[in-house]
């Protein structure tokens, strides 16, 4: 019922047969019975097959361990395609990017992780400051433009999410949609705007905001938002959901949650994205980052994997399926996405900001937005 072979819609249905085979094998081992060898030459199915449709290479004994702040739904097909095409086993630990960064810091040089994928640059900066990241090979880093990687090559961007304003279709009139985030401190937006103040990508966005407009301007903007009864929500998803229900009128979020919720709830979800004017800081692109850990025992393999994320096929997948902005291989963003024009977070050297993240957190806490 969940898996409909004949209609086979093009969502992420990775490699079902092989997966079942593996799980069956795992079960058999768990029961203490010798497992029979399972499967020979195989190909991928579903979304993963759109990334790689050739025959899978026989499994080698090389293993890559990935700590992924990207969730399984968004990246598993790419991992499956990589494993199939190279014969390399990919083991993954999932979690929130900030939590995984803490885990990597605790594990230190003993971590099994080779690669860390982060939803936003903040956690990467935290690890870079602690000296836990190796540099990405020059030829891999050069797959993206200088805007989308760190100058010291501690990280390389592999997809982008744009900051937008999500708004309720019934309670916000067209002429009320603002051109800039600076408009939101206006009286007519009193009590109507939600801010995910403790969310990682918001804090990163705020850090770049401070870098571009000066800390005082950014802090003043946040204070004015609080004075204008802006409302705190813990994350992007809860804002998009509340906007769709009409609990709030609008909120500052990453662009792609709206597409997921709308796909699940259909027309009952009464919300849409609004793009700030091209050069407004409110429409910044937040980049998801790939890094190699300094404890990786196979940096060559780690670089090979990151290069795969930046390959034409993988970038096309991010564009088509997860509706993110591709950053490499000349792939164009999906048609439903508005064209990019705003400042991009990668153009700021995050490592150089040093305590940027810590200072942003202090300003946000001091603004009082967290106290209801």
């Amino acid at each position: 019922m969940l898996k409909n072979e004949t209609t086979a819609p093009p969502r992420q249905r990775a490699d079902v047969a092989a997966k079942r085979c593996r799980q069956l094998a795992a079960l058999v081992v768990a029961l203490g019975v010798a497992a029979a060898a399972c499967g020979s030459a195989r190909t991928l199915e579903g979304t993963a097959a759109e990334i790689y449709d050739g025959e899978c290479v026989a499994e080698s004994d090389r293993q890559l361990t990935v700590y992924s702040g990207r969730t399984e739904n968004l990246i598993q097909p790419v991992l499956d395609a990589f494993a199939c095409e190279t014969g390399i086993t990919v083991a993954v630990r999932w979690g929130a990017s900030t939590d995984l960064a803490l885990l990597l810091a605790e594990e230190g040089d003993r971590t099994p992780a080779d690669v860390f994928l982060s939803r936003s640059p903040g956690p990467v900066g935290f690890l870079a400051n602690q000296g836990l990241l190796a540099t990405v090979d020059g030829d891999v880093a050069n797959l993206v433009t200088a805007d989308h990687r760190s100058d010291t090559r501690t990280w390389v961007g592999f997809s982008g999410r744009q900051r937008v304003l999500v708004y309720n279709l019934d309670s916000v009139a067209d002429d009320e949609l603002p051109a800039s985030i600076f408009d939101l401190t206006d009286e007519r937006y009193r009590g109507r705007v939600a801010i995910p103040a403790t969310n990682g990508s918001f804090v990163d966005w705020f850090t770049v905001f401070r870098d571009q407009h000066g800390s005082d301007t950014a802090a003043q903007w946040l204070d004015d938002m609080v004075a204008n009864d802006a409302r705190y929500y813990p994350n992007n998803r809860s804002i998009v959901e509340a906007a769709g229900r009409g609990e709030i009128d609008m909120g500052l979020v990453n662009h792609y949650y709206q597409y997921q919720v709308a796909a699940a709830l259909g027309d009952d979800h009464r919300a849409a994205n609004w793009d700030f004017a091209g050069d407004d800081v409110g429409s910044m692109l937040i980049i998801t980052a790939a890094t190699v850990t300094s404890a990786s025992d196979d940096p060559g393999l780690s670089n090979q994997f990151i290069a795969y994320l930046l390959s034409q096929a993988a970038q096309q997948y991010f564009s088509n399926e997860t509706l993110e902005y591709p950053l490499a291989a000349g792939v164009a963003p999906a048609g439903v996405l508005p064209p990019l024009g705003g400042p991009e977070i990668g153009s700021i050297d995050f490592d150089a900001l040093g305590d940027g993240f810590a200072r942003s957190t202090e300003i946000i806490e001091a603004s009082g937005i967290l106290n209801e």
């Binding site: 969940l2 739904n73 968004l74 900030t98 605790e106 609990e247 806490e365």
Partner: protein
């Protein structure tokens, strides 16, 4: 009567005392980690720790924990009495439903509450049809209070229900014959005898509220756990110091509860003595309505939202509109993992805390009290911290790494450290409810210690230990940070998949997996907890 039941203070067997020390040590690793890290890294800027930025959240945490535990005490005890000692209709159904709120992971449970009950939510049509047009928005202090009471009252309900189930009816009968009203009997007989169970359960609610992050975050109530989470990356020494503060606070409360409960009479138990069922009379409809309302608010309301998400997702995948990103094999694998780790963790947890319970309840040993405090205080620590400390120690201990490396054994150990506290308090109550005279008789008849334990202790303690195992079981099933970080690579549970889907707003998948989790816990609660209580 109270004096007659006081226990002799005798010295515990050496083996038991050694077991107590070993267990205390095993349970102490997150606390030791915190102290070690705080000493190594310092506490950061002193001023920051005692500034309004941290004292405000600390005050709010305390205020919330006190309000939630007081409310859960009243609600949990009342529900236990109604379902165990009265002629309320559908009692068996209520007994299976009432523990279920424990199984909602707070990050998705609180979101589902919001989806159903908040403005524009799913219950709005229903409410407006009965004339309620505007609903208050669940948020801030009252929102957090409501959601947490609804999700934690089973911590009180389960142990108290297990206790009342075995309170001999003869005492109440005598009181009734002497002319006491039903309420007076409840106050004079039930309450004192369930006192230790009530205290133990309320303590858990208090500590859980301190450690909760998911619900307070979604209700936008700014507590200590939020301050810890924010400072982890921005200012790690402050986060560590705040966590240590949480642990010290917990230890103080645990010792206070211990001091208090030692002054309560031992609970009495007698098999074969039928419990008394009160006739509620004209109160029956009101009591039934109150129970139905609680079940609606705590179990049904979040379930409606989750089922709605699941239904839409299934519908869309069937029409070929949008396939689900999870398949049968993935669901089956996660379900299988969830069941076996939670059952094993529940059983081993009870076995692990039982020696401590014997030390505390039977011998009043100092070693036991220390171990008891360590086990229970740990419950106030956020799960993420326990996961991090577990990884910290295992990666630095070659022996453990070589022997258990990437196995589920470490995962189960971490679960036990996180949730052993849930079985701890109720086990002490169980131990104290075994009548000393039964032991004396058995000893006179020549039964050895093991035989006495199996034939005298276990039958009397069974229902309470079952309730303890049930608390651990439901909590492990929904546990997230440990399941993510301490598990072998590639090991998934239903909750890790719910998280993976929910985080990026794949709400159809999150809804479907949550529905499976709730149904599964319903079945397990029935087989492992309720049915055993019926037969005991």
């Amino acid at each position: 009567m109270i004096g007659a039941l006081r226990r002799r203070r005798s010295r515990a067997p050496a083996a038991l005392r050694i077991a107590g020390v070993v267990l205390a040590f095993a349970f102490a690793f997150p606390g030791v980690y915190l102290v070690y890290r705080a000493l190594r890294d310092g506490t950061g800027p002193e001023g920051l720790l005692w500034s309004a930025r941290t004292l405000g959240p600390l005050w709010r945490s305390l205020r919330l924990a006190v309000s939630v535990s007081a409310s859960a005490l009243v609600l949990g005890t009342g529900l236990a009495w109604l379902t165990m000692r009265t002629d309320l209709p559908l009692r068996k159904l209520w007994r299976v439903l009432l523990p279920l709120p424990l199984v909602y992971p707070t990050f998705v449970g609180a979101a589902a509450f919001i989806r159903t009950l908040n403005p524009g939510g799913l219950a709005n049509d229903l409410l407006s049809s009965i004339g309620i047009d505007s609903v208050p928005e669940l948020r801030g202090f009252w929102g957090a209070w409501f959601v947490l009471v609804m999700m934690t009252f089973p911590y009180v309900y389960l142990p108290v229900a297990a206790r009342l189930r075995h309170l001999p009816g003869s005492l109440e009968e005598s009181a009734r014959l002497l002319g006491d009203s039903a309420f007076a009997v409840f106050r004079r007989i039930c309450l004192p005898h369930a006192g230790t169970a009530i205290g133990a359960g309320t303590l858990l609610v208090f500590l859980y509220t301190l450690s909760d992050f998911g619900a307070v975050q979604l209700m936008r109530y700014d507590t200590l756990t939020r301050a810890i989470a924010t400072n982890y990356l921005a200012n790690p020494p402050v986060a560590l110091a705040l966590s240590l503060m949480l642990l010290v606070l917990a230890a103080i409360v645990v010792l206070a509860e211990r001091w208090f409960s030692r002054r309560l009479p031992d609970a009495m138990s007698a098999k074969g003595d039928r419990p008394l069922d009160y006739r509620l009379g004209r109160w029956r409809p009101y009591a039934t309505a109150a129970l139905a309302l609680t079940v609606f608010a705590s179990v049904i309301a979040p379930f409606i939202a989750l089922a709605d998400w699941a239904r839409r997702g299934l519908f869309r995948s069937l029409t070929g509109d949008r396939a689900l990103t999870v398949d049968y094999a993935a669901i089956a694998e996660s379900t299988f993992n969830t069941v076996w780790v939670s059952v094993v963790a529940a059983v081993v947890s009870v076995a692990a805390v039982l020696p401590i319970a014997l030390l505390v309840g039977r011998y009043r040993s100092r070693t036991g009290s220390l171990a008891h405090a360590v086990v229970i205080s740990t419950f106030a620590l956020p799960g993420l911290l326990i996961a991090l400390s577990m990884r910290f120690w295992t990666l630095r201990t070659d022996l453990v790494l070589d022997l258990l490396g990437d196995t589920a054994a470490l995962l189960i150990f971490a679960y036990i450290v996180r949730f052993g506290s849930l079985a701890m308090g109720i086990s002490v109550v169980a131990v104290r409810s075994v009548p000393e005279r039964l032991h004396d008789s058995a000893r006179l008849l020549g039964a050895g210690p093991l035989r006495r334990f199996l034939t005298v202790d276990m039958p009397v303690m069974g229902p309470a230990l079952g309730a303890g195992a049930g608390l651990v079981l439901l909590s492990v099933m929904k546990e997230l940070p440990i399941s993510l970080f301490v598990s072998p690579l590639g090991f998934s549970t239903l909750t890790t998949r719910i998280y993976g889907s929910f985080e990026d707003a794949f709400i159809a998948e999150a809804g479907l997996l949550s529905v499976i989790l709730v149904v599964l816990s319903f079945v397990l609660t029935w087989f492992l907890v309720v049915r055993r209580q019926e037969h005991a």
